[in-house]
Symmetry: C2
Subunit: 245 residues, 2 copies
């Protein structure tokens, strides 16, 4: 892309054009490096002036990027001690952006397993709640998403967006704000893994029938059936993902 500057590691400048501001690019660069393990927990990264200069940005831009990482629990900085990477246990890995950084590199297998495990716990329970509380608008949103899934397949970005929309609508039908916050994280993760599945080989299974079963149970107001149908859906998705890795 950029014809001008084949500098050592000053990538951010070229990534600036992608809508992200400059500090966003720096945050992405550092965040990915940390989450992917290139900078191990406990390590303290080089001083602000040196590091900012190495990345060819001003100290303020660099500092604002570090603030973002601090806000997400990736690093902690104290005077004289420097900025050091915190242990994984303090990271907000449920943060959608951190999740994106985690999947921007080769996703860790055990981490994907953990995410699916969480999904297998939360989504069936959410489907149960949704069956009890859904209103007309919720059903309409889910129905529309389902129709879009039918039209496009999961091979297209539009299809994956429809998949996300379906799960978002489902979580939204619980009318539980905490659940909806998890929705953002989980649907993001699901989207990444779906794309990953897609990349590895053609999807062997048509996902629409499973989703339709969940929808029918929720529309019928049958909590047990909704929970069971969603459990089946997640299990199948886990199988597909597992066989793709």
């Amino acid at each position: 892309m950029s014809t001008d500057e084949p500098d050592d590691k000053s990538i951010p400048r070229s990534a600036r054009g992608s809508g992200r501001r400059l500090r966003g690019a720096v945050a992405h660069y550092l965040g990915s490096a940390i989450v992917s393990g290139q900078i191990a927990p406990g390590e303290t990264l080089t001083g602000e002036i040196a590091n900012a200069e190495a990345l060819d940005v001003s100290r303020s831009a660099y500092r604002e990027a570090v603030q973002v990482l601090t806000a997400k629990g990736l690093v902690e900085s104290r005077p004289k001690a420097g900025t050091r990477v915190l242990p994984r246990s303090r990271w907000n890995i449920l943060d959608p952006q951190v999740l994106a950084w985690a999947f921007s590199a080769e996703p860790d297998v055990s981490f994907v397993r953990d995410l699916f495990e969480l999904r297998a716990i939360v989504e069936p329970a959410a489907a149960r709640l949704a069956a009890e509380r859904r209103d007309k608008d919720d059903l309409k949103a889910m129905k529309d998403a389902l129709a879009k899934m039918r039209r496009h397949t999961l091979a297209t970005e539009a299809g994956r967006a429809a998949d996300r929309a379906f799960h978002d609508a489902l979580l939204g039908a619980t009318h539980n704000s905490a659940m909806m916050a998890l929705s953002a994280s989980i649907s993001a993760a699901v989207s990444w893994t779906t794309e990953f599945k897609q990349r590895s080989r053609a999807l062997p299974r048509d996902p629409v029938p499973d989703h339709a079963k969940v929808f029918d149970a929720i529309a019928a107001g049958d909590p047990d059936a909704a929970s069971a149908a969603m459990r089946a859906l997640v299990d199948l998705a886990l199988d597909d993902t597992r066989s793709a890795m």
Copy 2:
């Protein structure tokens, strides 16, 4: 500059001494104002130079605070348009810090209900996993926390810390990183609500027996019993909290 200024709203300077850096105080101030609804979603807050001056901090400190809010999905800022508060659906309310801001003011009743609902879903499932996977260290950590809970009551901060430690150890025993990330959020929320219960009136119930039952089931490696015991514990906690509000 100004040594003594009982200015209208320049609170941050006084809050700086509390360990938090100055930008942390500004972030706390703005974050609380947003989460508590004083600044409604969709509103655009005043320009950086004006607002920074009103709070009696430099523009850089103010900007770094805003970056923190941006990282947590509370606001979004674009040139010329200003910085505007995003709709609640985009907030990372599972972020421990956002949770803290939410509880720093009068906590919203329906929000607390939502949190307990999530807890009622996640923690029994986590107890089930913990019963299957716990190792010696996990059991030791839980046992220690339980002993501390017995020694101090929930009326003391040490007791509440022990309660947090018990739940953290339990979530940790699942050996699931995503679950452990939720642990930070949930235990924080539980701690806030416990303190809230405490504030309203003396706790009518001794929490130790319930916790001990969960521990015994996990130590025995009985997933079903662990799940059931945890479900009972959360239900009781919900009852207490509900009657206190």
